[in-house]
Symmetry: C2
Subunit: 198 residues, 2 copies
């Protein structure tokens, strides 16, 4: 047996993926070995292709194969609306929901004193500058409804005072399909406050 | 945006792994992209290395980098005890538990009329032949306690009648740490029948 055993090394590396523990990593490794030519080799090649080609968009921070991402390049999108999201996963979630046709700004995190993430790390000055030069008409703060997310939203809104753009945020309320009984008090209070004409 | 987008293709391929759905595949892909040099490239290289080097042991059916696996090559192991397991995952489970120091025979499945797996698919004749030529003294049937697993065990035991080897099976009973209240009747009945002196 070679040392370190390549199979064990593969399992160890797979187990570092989020959502996979040692047990599911073993299952995944066996699955890959069983479908060697159909799945294992293509997956490895995809990974290498993405690893070599992936770029962070210089404009919005999205991930794509080009240094200016597909969304920024797409002139059919609304150039006057800017949606601020925490990370690329959130951008993908917005795109999947297909509820926004403008452009994005990926912060790359939220302000967090504990993690040492300050306004400079998130390059908020650049964001403000961008909002001005691109003559954005609406800035949508699509940040998580967590303490850090909301603190960041407030900080950005403060920074943008005086800019000629409407600043909005996603609505809080009862999730679609959600039962009142299971909702936390904070959400219920927000949903009550923002109640709408039926 | 290129078509098909390599990131989306990577996510799609990741989502085919057991234990990963579309959502966790996206998380895994982003994780890999974020740790491109530390995890993504090494993982892809490990996969290719395993894909190119992996062999099925000609003797026992285990997976290893050599055509005769490390366990079969290890002369320190008990050559007279043969443990029959369904697949490599079960072999790994036995090895992790470190409760068996003999050699294995990996069936590659269990008899199953529905799935069209018969005695020929599992090469049971070869197993019987092997038991004879290697003068095995004990054959341990370490098959799952499912209907198919137990049917296979009985079939193998039948086939081995007349061979000069003790045929044993793993004990059934209360799992260590298990609560009686949650046990099914079958297990409880087996545990009662096989009760031991305290």
């Amino acid at each position: 047996m070679m040392s370190p055993n390549p199979i064990e090394q593969l399992i160890k590396r797979l187990s570092r993926l989020p959502g996979l523990g040692p047990r599911s990593a073993r299952r995944a490794a066996l699955h890959l070995i069983n479908y060697r030519d159909g799945q294992m080799v293509p997956l490895a090649e995809d990974m290498l292709a993405v690893a070599h080609a992936i770029r962070r968009c210089t404009e919005c921070g999205n991930l794509d194969m080009t240094s200016r991402c597909g969304i920024c390049q797409d002139n059919a999108r609304d150039q006057k609306r800017l949606c601020i999201v925490e990370d690329v996963a959130d951008l993908w979630a917005m795109e999947r929901a297909a509820v926004f046709s403008g452009r994005y700004h990926v912060l790359g995190g939220v302000l967090s004193a504990i993690d040492g993430v300050g306004p400079d790390t998130l390059r908020l000055d650049y964001l403000v500058e961008r909002t001005k030069t691109e003559q954005i008409e609406e800035v949508i703060l699509a940040l998580s409804a967590t303490v850090d997310g909301q603190a960041t939203a407030h900080y950005i809104a403060d920074k943008m005072t005086g800019i000629n753009a409407r600043i909005t945020r996603l609505a809080h309320g009862v999730p679609v399909g959600g039962e009142l009984d299971y909702l936390d008090d904070g959400t219920l209070a927000q949903a009550m406050k923002a109640r709408q004409q039926f």
